[in-house]
């Protein structure tokens, strides 16, 4: 009983944490990047302010927009939030842990992606179509890389449940495995692509020739745009949390642990996320955006890395 209560409590805390942290993370990365480019940069809280401003604005829809434009933002946001609720942050054994399947998370992200792409196509503008087509095409390369990368840690953990994976990798003493490192690299590449970050896409520009993600949002305004922005932030948080949970599971509170462990876990999580954010900022500052049709090569390389990781594991499990 107590355990169930604790599980529900951690779950609620987790959701609150990630919802609060998501815009901060986006703001933080922006701030870091600005600092590295020698600018002062806006406060990390700026995304929160932007959201608040957008919510207060009256949303305008095109005359021929259908219900899709009104429903999709909610659906996309809800799907991302649901997915994020499943990825462990500071503690294992949350109430929804049995549900926290990696494939389901990928499915929910696909649902959000589909909602976004539908919005892009709803009004029938050229930019929307362009963005939607590119987004879905990139996904065709990202999904295989993600799945094969997942194969490595699913093999080690014996399950695709994130909670179990995190627990297994935390306790299993697998140590630093070259295959896991390769899989992590693949996951990072996928995360970059999925979040429309440099070098796949540039979240800071509306330059039409190169953009993917923002092109679909051109017709959104007011609270719809706010929802999309929040969704993007959630998605970034989700991917970083995913990588943290799988590849850097140390410090996370085990299932059934008490508040102290939670606090420690939280601390560890914040540190790890901050580290990843810093790495991302450095990476984005140091590299240029690539041409759209180079993206498959980028993701293909990730896929190859993931395959290599899996093959190494096959060999090592075959030997042992």
């Amino acid at each position: 009983m107590m355990q169930a209560l604790a599980a529900i409590l951690t779950q609620l805390l987790h959701v609150a944490l990630v919802v609060l942290a998501a815009p901060l993370l986006v703001g933080g990365i922006r701030w870091l990047k600005a600092r590295m480019l020698g600018r002062r940069g806006a406060s990390p809280l700026q995304p929160w302010r932007d959201l608040d401003k957008l919510l207060r604005k009256r949303p305008v829809l095109a005359e021929n927009a259908s219900a899709v434009s009104e429903v999709a933002p909610y659906l996309g946001f809800a799907a991302c939030l649901t997915a994020l609720a499943l990825v462990p942050s500071f503690a294992l054994g949350m109430a929804l842990a049995p549900l926290a399947d990696l494939l389901l998370v990928a499915g929910l992200l696909a649902l959000a992606r589909m909602a976004l792409a539908l919005t892009g196509l709803d009004v029938g503008t050229a930019f929307g179509g362009l963005g939607a087509a590119r987004e879905m095409s990139f996904a065709s390369f990202a999904e295989p890389a993600l799945l094969v990368a997942a194969l490595s840690f699913v093999m080690l953990a014996g399950s695709s449940n994130l909670d179990q994976i995190a627990a297994a990798l935390r306790d299993g003493g697998f140590g630093l495995r070259i295959s896991l490192a390769l899989a992590a690299a693949a996951m990072l590449a996928v995360a970059v692509a999925e979040n429309a970050r440099i070098p796949v896409d540039n979240p800071a520009t509306h330059l039409e020739l190169t953009m993917v993600h923002e092109a679909m949002l051109l017709e959104s305004s007011g609270r719809h745009l706010a929802l999309w922005e929040a969704q993007a932030a959630l998605r970034l948080t989700l991917w970083l949390a995913l990588i943290v949970a799988i590849f850097l599971p140390f410090g996370i509170a085990p299932a059934g642990a008490g508040p102290l462990a939670w606090a420690l876990g939280l601390l560890a999580w914040v540190v790890k996320m901050a580290g990843l954010a810093l790495a991302l900022a450095v990476f984005e500052s140091a590299i240029a955006k690539m041409r759209v049709f180079r993206v498959p090569e980028f993701l293909g390389a990730a896929l190859l890395l993931a395959l290599l990781a899996a093959a190494l594991l096959f060999v090592s499990t075959g030997l042992s």
């Binding site: 259908s66 549900l99 792409a117 503008t125 050229a126 362009l130 390369f141 194969l151 096959f314």
Partner: protein, 697 residues
């Protein structure tokens, strides 16, 4: 009466004596009912032959009768799944040398359920449609009856009889609109592949029966084939059933035939007929060939299935015709099911019973889910064709405003096809991916690498399917109308809408309760996997201690999040939305007479990224841009094309070989009378020399 061929080694078939009274009584309820339903379907063709288009009641009779029959199929299938397999029922007719028999075990019943569902939906839709001419009414019930007979066959002859009857009847439906040359071409290719399939299956049946000395399944199971015979059966069944199911590389007929048929027939062909072919494949390879086959048996299925999944998914992204697009998506889904079957076969060969049940469950569940959502999508395409007058994506658009119900249902179907949780497609593909993630347990490094590659490609296929579905929904239902005819579209009639809504509801329901369905399919899964599957209950389990998927909980969570977001935002953002002119980055559409259709993304435009990324290498896709130089007054042109690899690498060489051989054969015809005599003389002399040689030596 002499006993039929009693001492023939092959055919010591039981005489057609009807079983004892008690046996008949025991078998009556399920199988007799099934036989009667099939018979009634056959009889429906009789009035259909006499009704022209002017007699609407004939069409209604045929479709209502088909609907009732399909509901009967469903009831019978569920009864057989829950109540266990009834004893085979000898038929009062049969081939000249023995008896035919009906049998319905769990495997057949599961596919009969799929047939019943797809058939009922299609018939309901057709009931609301204006009835076509007699030439599309007569074959329709025959088509359904042929499929049911294939599924309910208790021996190889009846199986092939139903299979070929199904092919022939559906050929008549594909050729229903035969005034157009492209439909004739499609029909011819379709029947050609069907004949090839029938021949391959007949050969496989012969090799099977040769070992067992009988044609009925019970006797065949007792003596499964071995050695080269088994391998030959594998190859022949793959070619035969694969050609009918749309397996790569024998899929070339599918994107042609499905669009040519009337929409409800396309739905049936895609939703049910390809499944019947898969049933035949499963029946031969899993059931009749016995459980003792080696692990590598799964490999060809897995490889071809995955290849089909990617190829179909990619082609679906490039096609410009709604029904062709859906047909290509069928190739993709059939590929996924085949891959799952291949995995099940491999797991079973390695004695990994639990994983085999996982993969077999994925195959069966996906067959059902695809049967429903593809039926839904084809019916929606039919509704669009009826309402907006075109199948071409570039002539449609913005139909969500005119056809809200159709659009909503189509979106649900597309969501399922794109494997979005919590819809039905995701559940079965989740099972497939889970079994792929566990495929490393097969042990052999070659198999492991193969399975990892398959995992990547299945992932790609799923994403490609999502892209294709987005393209379908986005261009057909969203945006603005592209032609005046499309702008004048209207919602379809009551019955058609009912069919669509029903199908959409089923898609949702199957997505939410896959565990219950899989439990219903339990006996069939056990039959395929050779091991008892776990009870799934409300969710899906990937095995002991492995991941689980609880779709109703996911749906609940999603709904909660949606509700919470909505409530929260209603507080924080109370302003009502306002309508204004489209922003479009500040671009103002040119003032054309009819709207601005050309500034919208086109079917080819949306396809561009994937065409360049994958199409150029896999499908030899080409783009030709003819851009006028500045100042030139002519219009620019853009043309994109691609070529399915099966055309240049399979069909064209075959056609060339046939033509060359026909040319050789033709030379004999140029012989003069004297030369013909000489030929006969040479034959005689040769034979004389032969016997002289044989007798002398």
């Amino acid at each position: 009466m002499l006993r039929a061929c009693c001492d023939v080694p092959l055919l010591h078939l039981t005489p057609r004596a009807i079983g004892s009274a008690s046996e008949r009584f025991r078998t009556f309820p399920v199988l007799s009912a099934l036989g009667l339903v099939i018979l009634a379907m056959l009889l429906l063709a009789v009035p259909a032959a006499y009704g022209g288009p002017e007699r609407g009641w004939v069409g209604r009779l045929v479709h209502a009768g088909s609907l009732a029959g399909c509901v009967g199929f469903m009831a019978i299938a569920v009864a057989a799944l829950l109540g266990g397999a009834p004893a085979p029922l000898p038929l009062p007719f049969g081939p000249p040398w023995g008896g035919a028999r009906l049998a319905l075990d769990a495997l057949g019943a599961w596919f009969l359920l799929i047939l019943g569902l797809a058939g009922a939906l299609a018939s309901l839709f057709a009931l609301g449609h204006p009835p076509g001419p007699a030439r599309s009414l007569v074959p329709y019930p025959l088509f359904l009856a042929g499929m049911a007979l294939t599924l309910a066959a208790g021996d190889l002859f009846t199986l092939l009889l139903g299979f070929e009857a199904m092919s022939f009847a559906s050929w008549a439906l594909v050729a229903a609109d035969h005034e157009q040359a492209e439909n004739r071409h499609a029909a011819r290719r379709y029947l050609g592949f069907a004949l090839f399939a029938g021949a391959c299956l007949a050969a496989a049946a012969g090799l099977l029966a040769a070992g067992a000395g009988a044609l009925d399944f019970a006797a065949l199971r007792e003596r499964p084939p071995e050695g080269w015979r088994a391998a030959a059966i594998l190859a022949l069944v793959l070619a035969g059933a694969g050609a009918k199911a749309g397996m790569v590389p024998l899929h070339a007929w599918l994107p042609l035939a499905h669009p040519a048929a009337p929409s409800h027939v396309s739905a049936l062909m895609s939703g049910a007929m390809t499944k019947v072919a898969l049933y035949v494949l499963a029946r031969f390879l899993f059931d009749l060939c016995g459980p003792a086959q080696p692990v590598w048996w799964g490999v060809p299925l897995l490889v071809l299935g995955v290849a089909g999944a990617v190829l179909g998914g990619l082609r679906a992204n490039l096609e410009a015709d709604t029904k062709t697009l859906l047909a290509c998506s069928t190739i993709e889904n059939i590929g996924l099911i085949l891959a799952a079957l291949g995995l099940a076969l491999a797991f079973r060969g390695r004695d990994l019973g639990g994983l085999a049940t996982l993969a077999a469950g994925a195959a069966l569940l996906h067959a059902l889910n695809h049967g429903v959502f593809k039926t839904l999508l084809f019916l929606a395409a039919g509704a669009v064709l009826h309402a907006a007058g075109s199948r071409r994506i570039d002539r449609l658009g913005g139909l969500i405003h005119a056809m809200p119900v159709t659009a909503a249902c189509a979106m649900l179907g597309a969501g399922a096809a794109a494997a979005l949780p919590p819809l039905s497609g995701f559940a079965s593909e989740w099972l497939l991916l889970q079994s792929l993630l566990a495929a490393w347990k097969l042990g052999d490094i070659t198999l492991q690498v193969l399975a990892a590659a398959a995992l990547a490609l299945v992932g790609m296929a799923v994403a490609l399917a999502a892209a294709a579905m987005l393209r379908l929904i986005g261009l057909v239902f969203l945006g603005r109308p592209r032609t005046p005819r499309g702008a004048g579209a209207h919602e379809v009639g009551r019955l058609e809408r009912a069919a669509l809504v029903l199908a959409a509801a089923l898609t949702l329901a199957f997505g939410l309760l896959p565990g219950a369905l899989l439990d219903l399919a339990g006996p069939a899964v056990a039959q395929l996997a050779g091991a008892a599957p776990p009870r799934h209950g409300l969710g899906l389990l990937a095995g002991e201690g492995a991941a689980a998927y609880l779709p109703w909980l996911v749906a609940l969570l999603l709904a909660a999040c949606l509700l919470a977001t909505w409530l929260l935002l209603r507080r924080r953002s109370p302003q009502a939305t306002q309508r204004g002119p489209v922003w479009n980055g500040g671009f103002i559409d040119p003032p054309l007479v009819f709207g601005d259709p050309l500034t919208q993304p086109s079917a080819g435009g949306i396809a561009q990224p994937l065409r360049r990324m994958l199409g150029t290498s896999l499908l030899a896709a080409r783009e030709v841009v003819d851009m006028p130089r500045p100042g030139e007054p002519r219009a620019g042109h853009y043309a994109a094309s691609f070529r399915d690899p099966s055309e240049p690498f399979l069909l064209a060489p075959l056609a060339r070989a046939t033509d060359a051989l026909a040319g050789r054969a033709e030379r004999l015809r140029d012989f003069s009378l004297r030369q013909c005599l000489g030929l006969g003389f040479a034959t005689l002399v040769l034979l004389l020399a032969l016997i002289a040689w044989l007798e002398g030596g």
